[in-house]
Amino acid sequence: MAEFLQFAFSGLTVGAVYALVALGFTLIYNASDVVNFAQGDFVMIGGMSTVFLYATGVPLPLAAIIAILTAVIVGLLLHRLAIEPARGASPVTLIIITIGASMFIRGVAQIVFDKQFHQLPAFSGDRPIEILGATLLPQSLWVLGGGLAVFVALWLFLERTLIGKAVLATAANRLGARLVGINTAVILAIAFGVSASIGALAGVLATPITLTRFDLGTIMTLKGFAAAMLGGMGSPLGAVVGGLLLGLIEAFGAGYISSVYKDGFSFIAILVVLFVMPRGLFGGRSVERV
């Protein structure tokens, strides 16, 4: 029982990070049909910037805020310099542009930061909380709490505000959106900025547990993308469920079977789900009459 709980805790913690990356995917996808393969690099920017600012003596909360703002600026630049000039290109072209942007960001990060692994101190100490024989790090609660807060905020934004609806409208029909007076370039910029801030927040929260390095973005993008596909691309709820599920599958697979195949378990699970439900767990409702 203690062992089971232990695996569950670590699965949920990692899963919450995947969920945050997947939420970032969801937002940009909703606004533009683009899958942003630089999404994981925002996680790296968030973590690495915080580490380096903290090392120069900036207090941790301030360092985290500056790091998130840095990621937002990178997100806005990505939109302005790479996505906006290619306006009207097919989603596949735009996706390839984001892959190129991701390589560029990693290259710059190597120069601006370094090639070492880095860690941050835990926000509320390292003393583990014991629950039924299993232990939970306080930092895990930060990660889970952050994931929950972002999910609720994003859901309220998309479902309850007119600007959030405008994001969905821009994705649903660009021409229709322009004709009701939505400035679609601004909507896309908002999506990239908010998405970058979500990714960077994930990086800040997870770095005390998972370490960070200039090339962390690659694996984060892969896992976040897998989580978003698992839950159903475009659905915030799907992103969260997909992320947590992916984390749990990895933790239990690694714990009970073999940690060598940790990544394999999650990708096999995704293949099975997509065979049975091609739109993912929560992407099913697409009724359209033409």
């Binding site: 007119l162 609806k165 969905l168 649903a172 021409l175 004709l179 007076g181 009724v287």
Partner: protein, 235 residues
């Protein structure tokens, strides 16, 4: 209210509009008829700012607007129900209508009042208000597209092919709604392939052929014109 002078627009190397002159006075229904490919949709898109004008002027309420972005033109009071409806399929009917009022800055009460006016004009939309727009029938989607354009509280309403592909009984409902809007003081520029129906409710009309206005007159006069009767009315 709207004056278009020498307007030219291109699709790639093809000149879709070759210098169009047209005016719409306040409170008028003006019909624009012509064959497929005559440039009718391009003209409306250029007035809305979706397509750039290659040359010429568009003057709205005394101000040149041909350089303004499309969202600014909506804020000035020009809104369009486009060809093919272009509704936001995954969003609910009510969300579609609320988004129609995206640019208005006159408060929630006014927007809600206009929402009720839309529901009075097209009661079926009220019944379906929680349903996804993509699940509506073609005629209902057309009503939604017109309702969405009205939610911007426009001074000038552009309607592109509102009768396209619809059953005759639905076409009659939509034409009745347009006539009713005029009686409430709305100004309408109506683009139609169904020339007989459009000219019958229009105060004035223009015939567009290959990017040029070839005939203009009152709706009645155009309906009686032998060239129009032969080319567009099939009699």
């Amino acid at each position: 209210m709207l004056t278009v002078e020498g307007l030219k627009a291109r699709y790639g190397r093809i000149e879709a509009l070759k210098g169009v002159d047209l005016t719409v006075g306040a409170g008028e229904i003006v019909a624009l008829v012509g064959a497929n490919g005559a440039g009718k949709t391009t003209l409306l898109r250029t007035i809305s700012g979706i397509e750039p004008a290659a040359a010429g002027r568009i003057v709205f309420e005394g101000q040149p607007i041909e350089r303004l972005a499309s969202h600014v033109r909506v804020a000035r009071g020009i809104s369009q129900s486009p060809e093919g409806r272009q509704v936001f399929a995954p969003l609910s009917v009510e969300d579609n209508l609320r988004l129609g009022g995206y640019r208005r800055r006159d408060g929630a009460a006014a927007a809600t009042a206009d929402l009720e006016r839309c529901f009075t004009l097209f009661p079926i939309l009220k019944e379906r208000r929680r349903q996804a727009a993509g699940s509506l029938s073609g005629g209902q989607q057309q009503m939604l597209a017109i309702g969405r354009a009205l939610m911007a509280a426009p001074k000038l309403l552009l309607l592109d092919e509102p009768s396209l592909g619809l059953a005759p009984v639905i076409v009659d409902q939509i034409l009745a709604a347009i006539t009713r809007l005029r009686s409430e003081g709305m100004t309408v520029l109506l683009v139609e392939q169904n020339a007989a129906a459009a000219l019958a409710i229009a105060d004035r009309g223009y015939v567009l052929e290959l990017g040029t206005v070839t005939l203009t007159g009152t709706g009645r006069a155009l309906l009686d014109d032998p060239k129009v009767r032969e080319a567009y009315l099939g009699v």
